[in-house]
């Protein structure tokens, strides 16, 4: 039956039909992924994907992600340090010294927490109170992308989530192209604090960001998360670029710092901490700012 010329057309037709049935449009793919699907958070707790209408974020980067996913109007409570996005008329909750009564009275159907923003006992207690807690960790760029995608799946905004992630990845690629390829990379000191001086060690996301930005964290080889170097150590490593925390001015430093290359070439900068220190939707912008400052560093000794 299948060897006649007419049958060959039929075969092809069947084959095409069968092939097409395996090919689905992105929309149907998404639809198929989300019907009552459960998403696991970083602690292994699974929540059902749904149209959550009363969301509480206990970390500013979560607030920003919710805004990016178009969930602004579903927020009933945000962390006190959520300042980047304009929020009005929403209850503020401290993610550390937390008032459980406030959260409970908000009757949230979803609470978004992070390991950097909320202590473990708070997470545990919120679960004990019967709340739906979705806990994430943003260790590195992959962690950020995964968080955005997972929250997207959870809140049925996968479309937006993929778009955001794609746009971030795109931005990162564009950024990479602007980076100078010349080695060695300029030595960078990022000061998280000045009294005493504190800088990120090698095993941190911030250090990674500095690398993405085309620089080299002078404490890259340290395996402590936060390094507390002496001034002598900083002078010895002689960074070419120094980033200062908000609120600290270069005039606050004493003369011992003047022998450092970064100071001599006036390459001491501030960056928007909301972009750089919050692993979230603005992280690539943060890397961009770092890269821009690093690139603009002075090469000559300006006395």
């Amino acid at each position: 039956m299948f060897n006649t010329p007419f049958s060959r057309k039929r075969k092809l037709f069947f084959l095409i039909i069968i092939f097409l049935s395996y090919c689905r449009s992105p929309y149907t793919i998404l639809k198929a992924e989300n019907p009552g699907k459960t998403i696991k958070d970083i602690q292994g707790f699974a929540l059902t994907a749904g149209n959550y209408k009363r969301i509480v974020t206990l970390s500013p980067n979560m607030t920003e992600i919710c805004f990016a996913l178009g969930l602004k109007n579903r927020l009933v409570g945000v962390s006190v340090s959520s300042d980047y996005v304009g929020i009005k008329n929403v209850e503020r909750i401290d993610g550390w010294n937390i008032n459980y009564e406030t959260i409970l009275l908000l009757k949230p159907d979803l609470v978004l927490t992070t390991s950097a923003g909320n202590p473990p006992q708070v997470i545990e207690r919120l679960r004990e109170l019967g709340l739906n807690v979705f806990h994430t960790e943003q260790a590195g760029l992959d962690g950020i992308f995964e968080t955005i995608e997972k929250i997207g799946m959870l809140t049925k905004t996968s479309g937006k989530a993929y778009a955001v992630v794609a746009s971030m990845k795109n931005e990162l690629e564009l950024l990479k192209k602007t980076l100078p390829t010349r080695k060695p990379k300029p030595r960078v000191l990022y000061l998280l604090w000045t009294n005493p001086p504190m800088a990120p060690g090698g095993d941190t996301f911030l250090s990674e960001m500095i690398t993405f930005a085309g620089g080299q964290n002078i404490f890259e080889s340290s395996n402590v998360r936060i390094v507390k170097p002496s001034i002598e150590k900083i002078i010895e490593l002689d960074p070419e670029v120094i980033f200062l925390p908000q609120g600290v001015n270069f005039s606050d430093f004493d003369e011992r710092w003047t022998v450092i290359s970064a100071v001599k070439t006036r390459s001491v900068f501030h960056v928007n901490e909301d972009f750089v220190l919050r692993p979230g939707i603005n992280t690539i912008k943060g890397i961009g700012e770092l890269a821009g400052r690093i690139r603009s560093r002075g090469k000559k000794d300006k006395g």
């Binding site: 550390w96 010294n97 008032n99 406030t102 950097a116 202590p119 109170l129 998360r225």
Partner: protein, 332 residues
């Protein structure tokens, strides 16, 4: 010293406790009148839950119970230490118990040994008791515990343990650190009813045992030789009391973190009002300690509803001037 002499003041404090307990269930981010409080709690049992049932059962009630237990435990431990070392400056923290308990918990946390409900409290008790044993051994000489040596040993051990705890914290990742740093100042809202129900029986047993021994401890407080000659087994009772005090402190630290000055203030206040007989001082200190911490916690909740001040700050604010006052008086 008659039974009435104990029962009367005790009844007074218990009355105050009952009143303030009800009040503490009413106040918070929303004021719930007492009748609604009763309905909400009853509702959890009968199944007719009200909008406030979870709030009361899962938040306010455990918090109330935590304050009562931790206050009683800390004040009780302070009373024991002051009686044993015969010094009004005796305090669970001076003896190194709290540092030991804190180190125990931090170590367990870092080594991820804190699996079950009983895990961390056990670590705290073990840490606190170990500290007490070391301090006791250091301060013993010629078969007896000398007061001055006990205080000195306590300070030394306490400093060493605190330093060790800080060392472990500096080496661990930031999430654990930040979580622990907050708890180190006292966290009253961290317990669920089931956790309290696990710790409470032990607390009651220890308080009951010490109360039953308080007659003998009272004699020891008046003189080691005096007590020994009259047939009281001084060393074994001293050891039992020290262990009891370290158990109480360990339980308190496990339940609510490090809260200072309750063990110092309450027994001294009780002594000032009702005299220094240990039988009175111990039981009234436990009751008054529960009351004081409850009041401090209510202040915290009313004054800082959003970013809660750790209750250890309030006790320190009241406690430091009190402590200075004691030091000045002691100079006379």
């Amino acid at each position: 010293m008659t039974p009435k002499g104990i029962i009367k003041p005790a009844a007074l404090i218990i009355l105050a406790l009952a009143t303030l307990s009800i009040l503490s269930l009413c106040i918070g981010t929303v004021f719930i009148p007492p009748d609604k409080v009763a309905a909400a709690i009853a509702g959890k049992i009968t199944g007719l839950e009200t909008e406030f049932s979870t709030l009361l059962i899962s938040i306010r009630l455990p918090r109330l119970l935590t304050a009562l237990f931790v206050g009683a435990a800390l004040a009780g431990a302070g009373s024991i230490f002051q009686g044993l070392i015969r010094n009004p400056l005796g305090d669970p923290y001076l003896i190194g118990v709290s540092s030991g308990a804190a180190l125990g918990m931090i170590s367990a946390q870092s080594l991820s040994l804190a699996g079950t409900i009983a895990g961390l409290p056990l670590a705290a008790i073990v840490g606190g008791t170990a500290a007490v044993i070391v301090v006791y051994l250091l301060s013993k000489s010629g078969g007896k515990v000398h007061t001055t040596r006990l205080i000195l040993a306590g300070i030394v051990v306490s400093s060493f343990l605190s330093a060790s705890a800080m060392f472990i914290l500096s080496r661990s990742d930031s999430t654990t650190v930040q979580g622990i740093t907050f708890w180190m100042m006292g966290d009253m809202g961290n317990n669920s009813i089931s956790e309290i129900l696990v710790l409470a029986p032990l607390l009651f047993i220890v308080i009951a045992v010490v109360f039953l021994l308080s007659g003998k401890i009272n004699v020891i407080m008046l003189g080691d030789d005096l007590a020994a000659q009259m047939g009281i087994p001084v060393e074994s009772i001293k050891i039992s009391s020290l262990i009891a005090a370290s158990l109480l402190t360990g339980l308190a630290v496990a339940a609510a973190g490090v809260i200072g000055f309750i063990g110092l203030i309450v027994p001294n206040l009780a002594r000032y009002i009702w005299g220094s007989d240990f039988r009175l001082n111990f039981i009234l200190s436990t009751l008054a300690g529960a009351l004081l911490l409850l009041i401090a916690d209510m202040i915290v909740r009313v004054v800082s509803p959003v970013s809660e001040i750790p209750v250890g700050v309030i006790t320190a604010l009241i406690g430091a001037p009190f402590f200075i006052n004691l030091l000045i008086k002691a100079r006379d």
